[in-house]
Amino acid sequence: MRHIPEDELHAYLDQGLSRSQCVEIESHLAGCASCQGMRDNIAALRDRTTALLARLAPPRSFPTPFDTIRRRAAIEVSARRRRVHRAAWAASVVAAVAFGWTASQIADSSGAFRTATGSPAAAPLAASLPVTPVAAVSPALTLARPARGESNGRRTTRRPLVRKVAAAEAPRVSVPPVIAPAELELSTIDIPAAGDFELDGMWRTMSWVGAQAETGNQLPHIDGLPVVQVQVQAGKQGKQPLMVVAQQLVSGEVIRTIEGPASDVSHLLARRTMSDPDPKVSSTDSTRPGTVVYQGVDGSMAMQRGDRMIAITGALPPDSLLAMIRRLNAALRSK
């Protein structure tokens, strides 16, 4: 005759067995004194355990009203939603940064940022202008401050990040790095108003897209740096406009690239430096026959080809400015 195992009697007394198991056990117990004794011992052990554990009870207290719990839960749910929204926002920023970085890498690998000169002077540029980090950071800046830039009624500019990437891909990476100019400490170049300067036309601050359309994609700029300001002065009839594009380095410094008729650009530079209207002739560019490089007295560099002149101003070492202007020249020549 099979007696009932101890654990089954525990389960039986704890009502942890199925109805059929209970019937089976009860029918056995009815005719087995040994198992009845075992059952009574287990019942006593069970009661004893309960009595011992009952000593380990906290002082009796009244539960907090359920409405209080409900209010706390409502707050918790709302906080959780906010966390989810924040997480989604952060994820989108990370995705945008990753995308910008990838796009920058693609642009680099396609040679979009290579200088055409191959001059050793390009080396300092790499040190002073970490293009890839800027490309990675810019989308984050864009997402962080779009509303403010727009609500201020400021112009919206677009950073020409991967201008030389295949046209089909370009729209996907043209995230506009809108940076409210009021938040930047712009360098102190003064764009003269009409009348102050012997140049025709009005200076207009434009969006990147608008300026690109108006100038036929001829805006002077350094690829990979976020654009913070575009200013254009229409030329005389049959004359090219004068264009000034301000871009920001990762260090926060702003550099400006200027392109236009040689006389206008040189006048502009002269007015800025308050020095001799004719910039000092620094050298001729051996890699570019027919071009003359000018170095200003305080952080400006210009390069003249025929009647056109491009210039860069910014608080950078002369060799960096030189490398940048060579790159700029190569980019404009390739158009």
Binding site: E6, D7, E8, H10, A11, D14, Q15, G16, I42, A44, L45, R46, R48, T49, T50, A51, L52, L53, R55, L56, A57, P58, P59, S61, P63, T64, F66, I69, R70, R72, A73, E76, V77, R80
Partner: protein, 172 residues
């Protein structure tokens, strides 16, 4: 669902507090954690709220124990620092305040393995065998075996510490 949770709160709150108290040994903290459990239940709306409530309570108690360990380490560091020593709080040594009878059961409970202790406390909180099984990962058939062992060991450990009282209690 909310009404169900309210009913569960009314019927289970005390058991949840007791379950937590036996893990954190601090009545106020146990009540705070119990309220947190029901706040989470309202926020998550679990399908099986009763089992869920005890599962979350167990997790919170576990987190609390880890935090207590960290506090203890910090306390050790502070004790080594004679300047910081005056800022030491009395810590969780409130066990001293318990009377002897309570302490003896507590010590007996601490002699059980964590698994046996967990299952014994869940059973005492009123969970069914299937609920205990689903929460602990045991087979339902193994719950009875574990409970049988846990009960026996608890009583034996208690009687070892209090031979006269234990014998008397066993016969009473």
């Amino acid at each position: 669902m909310t009404d169900d949770l309210e009913q569960l709160y009314q019927s289970t709150y005390t058991a949840v507090v007791r379950f937590l108290y036996r893990k954190v040994w601090d009545a106020e903290r146990a009540e705070d954690l119990a309220q947190e459990v029901f706040v989470r239940a309202l926020a998550h709306r679990p399908e099986k709220p009763r089992a869920w409530v005890f599962a979350v309570a167990a997790n919170l108690a576990r987190d609390e124990a880890r935090a207590a360990v960290r506090r203890k380490r910090h306390l050790t560091l502070l004790k080594a620092d004679p300047i910081a020593q005056p800022t030491i709080e009395p810590a969780a040594d409130t066990l001293v305040e318990h009377d002897e009878r309570v302490a003896s059961v507590q010590e007996a409970l601490n002699t059980l393995t964590p698994r046996d202790r967990e299952i014994l406390l869940l059973w005492d909180a009123g969970l069914s065998y299937p609920e205990i099984a689903s929460q602990t990962g045991l087979a339902v058939g193994a719950v009875g075996t574990t409970l049988a062992r846990a009960r026996r060991r608890l009583v034996e450990a208690h009687d070892r510490q209090n031979p006269n009282k234990g014998t008397h209690a066993a016969h009473s």
